[in-house]
């Protein structure tokens, strides 16, 4: 009997969570390949510090993966898997040139961490291989998604409410639009260069 009560309570808790947490899904069109969609920070709301620690690899003269989305405050590790020297630098974060940084040089097999405390897109470059290109997109909230190649995305566990949602694509202008989340919500974006 006691056990049944516990089950019922658990189900109720889950249901109540589900009741006020929805999803945002849709499609980013107008551009080809992967894009990033993230929820802008609601005023006054803070998020627990992120625990994920993604790794961006430099392999075969390329950044892998090409785009990584992280929550603000995330530490990203940069690995060099090549037997040639690379470096990682960016000239701005979210267009702010004061946030430019150069991480220097490190040999094969080593990782160097960097904590991204400012939101915005970070265009990664290497000063020896000018064709190398990668992006860290720092989202101000924990609600973000990388689209698939066709532009489809789904952001899960977004509490019901009104938000501003931004779509980002390499080389295109960002687009931000208001989205009211109540259960499963839709938001499509059409970006242009």
């Amino acid at each position: 009997m006691k056990r049944n009560v516990l089950v019922v309570v658990a189900v109720l808790v889950v249901l109540s969570l589900a009741a006020n947490a929805g999803t945002i899904s849709g499609k980013v069109s107008g551009v080809a390949g992967e894009s990033v969609v993230y929820v802008e920070a609601p005023a006054g709301k803070t998020f627990p510090a992120p625990t994920q620690q993604p790794v961006i690899d430099q392999k075969g003269l390329m950044f892998h993966p090409h785009i990584v989305v992280v929550q603000q405050g995330t530490t990203v590790e940069f690995l060099n898997s090549d037997s040639v020297a690379h470096n990682v630098f960016w000239i701005s974060i979210g267009g702010n040139k004061k946030l430019g940084h150069n991480m220097g040089t490190w040999p094969k097999g080593e990782k160097r961490p960097f904590k991204f405390d400012n939101p915005g897109a970070v265009p990664l470059l290497c000063n020896v291989h000018p064709e190398m290109s990668g992006y860290v997109v720092v989202a101000p909230t924990a609600y973000f998604a990388l689209t698939d190649k066709s532009g489809e995305y789904k952001i899960e566990n977004v509490p019901d409410g009104s938000y501003k949602v931004t779509a980002w694509h390499e080389g295109a202008k960002n687009q931000t639009k208001p989205v009211a989340v109540a259960g499963d919500s839709k938001a499509d974006f059409t970006l242009s260069k």
Binding site: M62, D82, V84, A85, F89, G104, T105, P107
Partner: protein, 520 residues
């Protein structure tokens, strides 16, 4: 050579200075194969950075883990496992997955100084010299070049200027060779101590005239030792001449020691022969049995403080990898035996025979290159000496019976150049070239106004000719470059040695040359 010919040589010189030195290369085929920019290997194409030097030393491969960088997989000419069946099967190799072809085109514009006609003033009455334009647009080269690796560390290179070659013409081929990299492994030698190159190639000079980034070549590498009419040398060999033969080399050009030893064709006449009695009929490029010897040794001191970085291909800087701070010291030596043949007589004074002089000659040089961040300062000093055996005609004989030693024919000179990278796309150049050759002087004007010099760059009473060449090169893209240089030749007035009066106006012509070139 009559006056008119000599005057035409004047143009020939000016134009060839520009055209001959156009043979510089960057390799778009490698860009395609590795999916990387020209600047991975080049500072300002075709000038190599430290990584480019290592790539070349390794036989056009990444020095380590080459296969992990190739974006276009090579085509197998045999499964790798076939190697175990050898000698019962052909040893497996590869060819590049894309045709390893690069193309290059360039075009020029030049402006000559006002005194460009001063030679014509010296022509004998009644002779009209050719017109020399103040400005001229010139089509450049269109050349095709191929390079890569066939697996098993066998590298290849072929470049050919298809715009000047024409049907049946010779001279279009630049370098064409196979390089067997690291063959020392078959003799259990340490890695990289022995490689072999076979074919036609530029001698392993400290600074490659064939792949120079300058619009005009370094004068000393083009210096031939012809001698005067009273001498018997006629050696048209210059260090920049293409050599055919075999070369053994080892070490690295980006750190530590590097050496090469080559055995190449002797050709001092500058021509080839096709004797009718040799079947199948072939042409010969050698003009003696003796093969010339060339050797070079250099040592590069990488001066990075951090010992780990010192031994890497590129230095690790605070903001990223870069070329090392280094000092390279090198030396080169070339030895040949030039053959001069003449109709002579035997000691009876009547029986005709061919008499042959074998004149040893050598070129010995020292070079340095210092690099600090964006500045590269480098130079070459070279001495050349040819034995001079002159025909000996005894009294009462009409033809010589042999040769006797006379004063050797010598020259020396070199260059110093500073390249400064103001931006990764903008290079400023300052350069001095100097050549001192008494034979050049004696071939010059002398006191006879009716016998002008073969080129405007020779001095009448001084044996040295100098040239200062400031320049600038701008990369529009990594594969498109526009270059400008101003060639300043200190002007000289010809004085009549008898009267001390000037007999002609200053005649060394300055010129401004602009070039545009692209590779793809």
């Amino acid at each position: 050579m009559d006056t008119r010919q000599r005057v035409s040589l004047f143009f020939a010189f000016i134009f060839t200075v520009v055209l001959l030195t156009g043979s510089s290369y960057a390799i778009p085929a490698f860009s395609r194969q590795y999916g990387t920019s020209c600047s991975t290997c080049h500072v300002n194409f075709p000038k190599l950075n430290d990584f480019g030097k290592a790539f070349k030393d390794a036989g056009f491969k990444f020095p380590k883990d080459d296969e992990t960088f190739i974006k276009v997989p090579p085509v197998m000419l045999g499964a790798p496992a076939q190697a175990e069946l050898w000698p019962h099967t052909i040893f497996p190799g590869t060819i590049p997955g894309l045709p390893p072809i690069g193309l290059r085109f360039n075009t020029f514009f030049q402006v000559l100084g006002k005194n460009r006609h001063n030679f014509n003033l010296q022509l004998p009455a009644g002779q009209v010299g050719p017109f020399i334009p103040r400005t001229d647009f010139q089509p450049g080269l269109f050349s095709i070049f191929m390079a890569g690796n066939f697996g098993s560390d066998i590298a290849f290179w072929v470049d050919d200027d298809i715009s000047v070659g024409g049907s049946g013409a010779s001279g279009g081929l630049g370098d064409g060779y196979l390089k067997f990299v690291n063959i020392g492994r078959f003799f259990k030698l340490p890695a990289n101590v022995l490689s072999m190159r076979v074919g036609q190639f530029e001698l392993d000079l400290p600074f490659s005239p064939a792949r120079s980034w300058n619009l005009s070549g370094w004068d000393i590498y083009d210096q031939a030792n012809i001698g005067t009419s009273s001498q018997n040398v006629n050696n048209s060999f210059a260090l920049s001449s293409a050599a055919q033969g075999v070369e053994f080399s080892g070490g690295h050009t980006y750190r530590g020691y590097h050496y090469s030893v080559a055995v190449v064709n002797q050709n001092t006449s500058g021509s080839s022969a096709s004797p009718a009695n040799v079947s199948p009929q072939v042409g010969f490029v050698s003009d003696s049995n003796f093969k010339d010897l060339y050797g070079r040794f250099s040592y590069r001191f990488n001066l990075e403080r951090d010992p780990a970085s010192r031994n890497e291909t590129q230095a690790a800087g605070a903001t990223g990898p870069r070329d090392h701070t280094y000092l390279t010291l090198g030396t080169l030596y070339f030895y040949g035996r030039s053959v001069q043949r003449a109709t002579g007589v035997e000691s009876d004074g009547t029986t005709k025979t061919v008499i042959t002089a074998r004149e040893p000659f050598y070129r010995v040089g020292a070079d340095f290159s210092f690099n600090y961040r964006k500045l590269n300062l480098f130079g070459q000093y070279l001495v050349g000496r040819d034995h001079n055996l002159i025909p000996l005609t005894p009294e009462g004989f009409e033809l010589p019976v042999g040769f006797i030693r006379s004063n050797p024919v010598k020259f020396n000179g070199g260059f110093v150049e500073a390249d400064y990278m103001i931006h990764p796309w903008l290079m400023a150049i300052m350069r001095w070239d100097g050549v001192t050759s008494s034979a050049d002087r004696i071939n010059g004007i002398g006191a006879d106004a009716g016998n002008p010099p073969p080129s405007p760059f020779l001095s009448p009473f001084r044996s040295a000719r100098n040239r200062f060449t400031p320049g600038v090169q701008v990369l529009i893209h990594a594969n498109i470059k526009t270059s400008f240089e101003y060639q300043i030749r200190p002007q000289q007035i010809v004085y009549d040695p008898a009267t001390g009066n000037a007999i002609t106006n200053p005649f060394r012509t300055n010129s401004a040359v602009a070039g545009l070139e692209w590779v793809y």
